[in-house]
Symmetry: C2
Subunit: 166 residues, 2 copies
């Protein structure tokens, strides 16, 4: 598996699984009816953010975007989002992208990584982030309208990247 | 005190205290060097969001913006931001704006209100939201670079607006 910076040309391969994941309605609070252009503009980050693709045998099988979670006085905390082609689950693509993002954030000097909205019933993702060292800071009750389960919670998850002064 | 929808014309009175609060660096993770136009575009919400001003004796003394915290499958949770002219603290303006936002969100059918980033050392705000019924869901450690205190935590705060099914 290769992980490299995404280009605009990669969007044609990202968008099919992005749209499938969006339409399934199990993991992301994306705007309904998003066009391909709107989705690309959201997903392909600009500096200081960054978007990467995971490639196996020349095929884009996943993507991650990363950058500061907030501007200004919150910009020392990173955040990230991940999409893996549902047909390629179980191949370690999410894990590889997660490890890549953690390394990127550490090298870029971020103090920590925060995920703002991990669907609590997305157990594969929750376990994966916990395996990478993330812990659940708190859970906003019934904040996600899951397409199958209805209202479920959204976890805020957090991974420190350096020793705390305190 | 009157609270009414903000108009573009109100910006001339909002921006001086908005800029002062931004420059003080104690409460918001706003982009550094934000122009007045950029700040107005951020603060004056469009439908389904809404921005209001608080007026005393014809003078704009505070403002609040509100709307869905997330799009799509998270859009049943509201969020809001508040600015009160620092020269008019202690007059109950934040409380009145907070009560207004809670009523608005309830009537608009939101299930709950979430604040994503309340600076933990902003004790006046934390106490005010707790007085309105908000509770702290969790605190992201050292996520805010306070201009005087350095790294302090950001609370996620939450107020349910209806009985939970579960």
């Amino acid at each position: 598996m290769e992980i490299r910076d995404a280009t605009e040309a990669d969007w044609a391969q990202i968008h099919p699984f992005y749209k499938r994941i969006a339409d399934e309605g199990r993991t992301y609070t994306l705007p309904p009816g998003e066009t391909s252009d709107e989705a690309r503009s959201y997903w392909i980050e600009r500096v200081p953010g960054r978007t990467v693709v995971a490639i196996i045998d020349g095929v884009v099988v996943g993507s991650a975007k990363m950058g500061p979670n907030r501007p200004g006085r919150g910009s020392h905390i990173a955040t990230a989002s991940f999409m893996v082609d549902p047909d390629r689950q179980g191949e370690g693509i999410g894990l590889a992208l997660g490890q890549h993002v953690v390394e990127w954030a550490r090298e870029a000097g971020y103090h920590a990584i925060q995920f703002n909205a991990v669907v609590e019933t997305n157990e594969g993702a929750v376990r994966l982030w916990q395996r990478l060292g993330f812990r659940i800071i708190g859970t906003v009750p019934e904040a996600f309208d899951d397409a199958e389960l209805g209202l479920v919670g959204l976890h805020v998850m957090y991974l420190p990247l350096r020793e705390r002064a305190g």
